[in-house]
């Protein structure tokens, strides 16, 4: 089985996997980084959103062979202690109900704010529309994103 050297949360790993194994399952089953969630496997829910070189990406759609040489950031790497502005904002707005989709939601928001420190309401909607939340925390996600915008622009 081929080996792949990847960088996840600023740490280097070598994993043995089929070239077509999606990053999602590499993270979850091989590296035990279970913060990245399986929701659908077909790019329809956003639960597996991570950052690849700072861009939001669905980990279920990225074969491991295409992740070599990229900086992969998962929820565990956003900050371990919850100090990233997006995590603090999620805390302040008390967003989660079940919480399962929230790592993906936070990674989508963090990726948006990485590129655009003052996104418009329309840009927020576009960036967040692919991430489903069955509990219906959308209001609080929106509120939290505004807290995060305030913090990073202080």
């Amino acid at each position: 089985m081929p080996q792949f050297a990847i960088e996840v949360n600023k740490k280097n790993y070598t994993v043995e996997a089929d070239a077509d194994m999606p990053l999602l399952w590499v993270l979850r089953d091989l590296l035990n980084l279970t913060g990245t969630k399986y929701g659908c496997g077909v790019a329809s829910c956003g639960a597996c959103t991570v950052m690849l070189d700072g861009e939001a990406a669905f980990a279920c759609q990225r074969p491991i062979s295409k992740c070599v040489g990229k900086k992969i950031t998962t929820i565990e790497g956003l900050s371990e202690d919850g100090s990233h502005p997006v995590q603090k904002a999620w805390q302040k707005a008390s967003v989660p109900q079940c919480g399962y989709c929230q790592p993906g939601q936070m990674m989508a928001a963090a990726a948006l704010l990485e590129k655009n420190k003052k996104p418009s309401e329309e840009e927020i909607k576009e960036a967040m529309n692919e991430n489903l939340c069955r509990c219906g925390t959308y209001h609080r996600i929106q509120e939290a994103i505004h807290y995060a915008i305030d913090e990073i622009n202080q």
Binding site: K37, P96, C98, Q102, C135, Y138
Partner: protein, 735 residues
């Protein structure tokens, strides 16, 4: 004799939600700190709900299963209130399975806070009383000269203080008191004040382990191909291609089972990781025997509903006066329909089972773990004490995990391999093989006299019952008439309601707000139709029916819940007031109202929804006002989250949610076909809470049933009258 409403929710009957049987002060053998039992002075645990160690660390154990409804915050708040500790210093943990009596873990029906409120207050108060006794003995003063405050006992004479941790050893040796005094609610410091979700930071840093995140030493992974038709059989499987995939360990077959869980016959691929199993599954070549019921479809089902709606109901569920003899000046009739629905939790179903000889260990999220464990013990021949159940958090449930079909599957698979195995349902499996909320159809008829008053009300509900699946076709519990039997909130001189159940070959189950949701939609729309038809104001008309009706009981047993039409009116008035009912509106803006009682959870909620009509059948939701009266609120922020979330859940099923069946196969395969509300579609919402000192009710479901009728009544005010959900079917679009 008619049964109490609460009895008809089979899962409540199966559990002990309403039994009041959750005595405190016991622990099962193996746990220390029972009076007279040996203790080691490390910690004090007078009951299964809390533990204090000698460093003063307070751990509160949550008996109910958390799936996003906030029980792991609200329930510990109740204990902490009486225990007199700072909630911020409390550690919250899942009560280990087996430390409480049977049924104590059962979670559903918005019952958790309602049924545990008193028990948990006592649990906290017992510990506090014992800590005070321990301190009083040390100080050699009367207990009445001591007080508990912020994790310490205070000597009110000298104002000396001892931390709880320092009293652990002495307190643990005291007998557990049978009766303790509870706080006066006006002194509450925690109950009624917003707290954030317990262990919130773990969720936000990705550390939280849901069932699917659980890893067990030596675990392998499985996915399964299932018979496309319920009740079908496996004829043969060619697994040669699948077995050639490196990392595939085994392909195993298992048979289907019938009631209560209706596991389909399946073939599972077991592999060293999930992806390998998923890949290999696609290569299985399987021949199924589909059985006789392989050609059913929802279009025909709804045609049958329509045809049988005109006939006498199979069950008479409520009768008052003589409906048949009433000949009104005017008769209004209408039919409403709503489809099968899937729960669509974002965490797909999953379960881990490890079998070693006569020992069975299980890991996963279940709403009714005792039912699952008892069934697994009986079906697979394990002694119950040889089954170890490890409960996990759930990434959404909404009733889906009241069912444990996936747990049975995991055991069937684990029996065939000598390693712990995690079964994961792929998304398409979750959409195609769920226990669906039943499809339902309603025929309503009102006979109206010269003065415009309803003299007779008839409501015939037709559906595909849950109970005929969970209990078998001969069950007597088929009618799904919550809110439409004796609990019907509107009173007319003559009333007749009835139910007809039809057989249909897909599985059914309980979904958030269950039949209350299915039944509130037609009633709240039809009331609107009557008001408009008799030229009455829809708000004033409802209030005229509700405000002066005395409270009434719906059952004969002492625990029967009191129904309060005036509280239903109260939330409605508040919603109408907040949205400005009767005020001049902008052009093309219209409001709809709906109200109800969540009849088995002592909770009442209403919605007022304003839309702007942008083009024919095209609208935008401009305002949503949600109001709730659930008695004493435990965690206001948690309540707001539930009400906001219920709006999203309600809009999903009003606008777009629909499961259709062709050839006995569900046609949707995931979120592309079975859509749920998205970020962009979430309208603004304001939630208003009625201040109340009544005993607390349940809030996980009450915010859902009035969403559909309020929106449809707004569309009716705009000149439409949607009677079929989801409204997308009728060509409505929204921005």
């Amino acid at each position: 004799m008619k049964k109490a409403i609460i009895d008809r929710r089979q899962f409540i009957k199966l559990g002990s939600f309403a039994s009041g049987g959750l005595a405190i002060g016991f622990l099962l053998p193996g746990l220390p700190a029972l009076a007279g039992a040996p203790f080691d002075c490390e910690f004090f645990q007078p009951n299964a709900y809390l533990k204090i160690d000698k460093k003063g660390k307070v751990t509160i154990f949550v008996a109910k299963q958390e799936s996003g409804q906030g029980v792991d915050t609200a329930l510990p708040m109740i204990v902490a209130e009486e225990l007199e500790v700072d909630f911020k210093n409390v550690t919250v943990a899942i009560a280990p399975y087996g430390t409480l009596t049977e049924g104590a873990h059962d979670t559903g029906g918005s019952q958790s806070v309602m049924t545990l409120y008193s028990t948990l207050r006592q649990a906290g108060a017992i510990a506090k009383t014992m800590l005070i006794s321990a301190a009083a003995a040390i100080w050699k003063i009367k207990e009445s000269a001591c007080a508990a405050d912020n994790g310490e006992v205070v000597n009110t004479i000298t104002m000396q203080r001892i931390k709880y941790g320092a009293l652990v050893c002495q307190a643990a040796q005291l007998p557990v008191p049978k009766e303790v005094a509870l706080k006066n609610p006006k002194d509450f410091k925690i109950i009624g004040k917003s707290e954030k979700r317990a262990n919130l930071k773990d969720i936000l840093t990705g550390k939280t382990k849901y069932g699917i995140d659980t890893k067990v030493e030596g675990m392998v992974y499985a996915v399964a191909e299932r018979c496309p038709v319920l009740g079908g059989k496996l004829i043969s499987v060619d697994d040669r291609a699948a077995m050639k995939i490196p990392g595939v360990l085994k392909v195993v077959k298992y048979e289907g089972t019938g009631a209560p869980m209706h596991v389909r016959a399946g073939v599972a691929v077991i592999a060293i990781n999930t992806w390998t199993a998923i890949k290999a599954r696609k290569l299985l070549k399987i021949v199924w025997e589909e059985g006789l019921h392989n050609n059913e479809n929802t279009e025909t089902l709804f045609a049958q509903f329509k045809e049988k709606a005109a006939l006498a109901p199979q069950y008479e569920t409520y009768s008052k006066g003589k409906v048949e003899s009433i000949k009104g000046k005017k008769e209004i009739t209408a039919s409403y329909a709503a489809p099968f629905l899937a729960h669509a939790t974002i965490e797909p179903m999953n379960f881990i089972a490890a079998i070693n000889g006569d020992q069975c260990e299980l890991w996963g999220g279940l709403q009714l773990p005792d039912w699952a464990v008892n069934t697994i013990a009986a079906d697979f021949g394990f002694k119950k004490e040889n089954i170890k159940m490890n409960l996990t958090l759930m990434g959404g449930a909404f009733g889906r995990r009241l069912h444990f079909d996936f747990a049975i599957e995991a055991v069937k698979i684990a029996k065939q391999i000598d390693k712990p195995v995690q079964l994961v349902w792929e998304r398409a499996d979750d959409t195609k093989f769920s226990p669906y909320r039943p499809a339902n159809y309603h025929f309503l008829k009102a006979s109206i006299d010269e003065q415009g008053n309803v003299q007779a009300w008839q409501h015939h509900v037709l559906g595909t019952p849950v109970a005929t699946m969970t209990e078998g076709p001969n069950t007597k519990n088929a009618p799904e008439m919550s809110g439409l039997d004796k609990s019907f909130c509107y009173d007319f001189p003559n009333i007749k309601t009835g139910y007809t159940g039809l057989a249909f070959n897909i599985n059914r189950g309980w979904l958030r707000a269950v039949d209350i949701c299915a039944n509130t939609f037609p009633v709240e729309c039809f009331i609107d139709e009557i008001a408009i038809s008799t030229k009455k104001d829809p708000l004033a008309y409802r209030l005229s029916l509700l405000e002066n009706r005395p409270d009434f009981k719906t059952g004969d047993d002492p625990g029967a819940i009191l129904q309060s039409p005036s509280r239903i009116a109260g939330v409605l008035k508040l919603a109408a007031d907040k949205i400005g009912w009767g005020a001049t509106r902008s052009p093309q803006h219209f409001i709809g109202l709906a109200t109800h009682s969540f009849v088995f959870a002592k909770a009442y909620a209403a919605h007022a929804i304003e839309i702007e009509l942008l083009a024919p059948k095209k609208f935008r939701i401009t305002r949503v006002v949600a109001t709730i009266d659930c008695g004493q609120v435990i965690n206001p922020d948690g309540l707001l989250n539930q009400m906001q979330g219920a709006l999203a859940f309600g809009l999903s099923q009003t606008l777009m949610g629909e499961i259709t069946v062709m050839d006995s196969r569900v046609e949707q395969e995931g979120f592309y076909g079975y859509e749920i509300l998205r970020f962009k579609e979430m309208p603004p919402v304001e939630v208003y809470i009625v201040e109340s000192k009544e005993e607390p009710g349940g809030v996980g479901e009450v915010g859902l049933p009035t969403v559909s009728p309020a929106l449809c009544n707004a569309l009716a005010a705009a000149g439409y009258r949607p009677r079929i959900l989801p409204i997308r079917k009728d060509g409505f679009t929204w921005v």
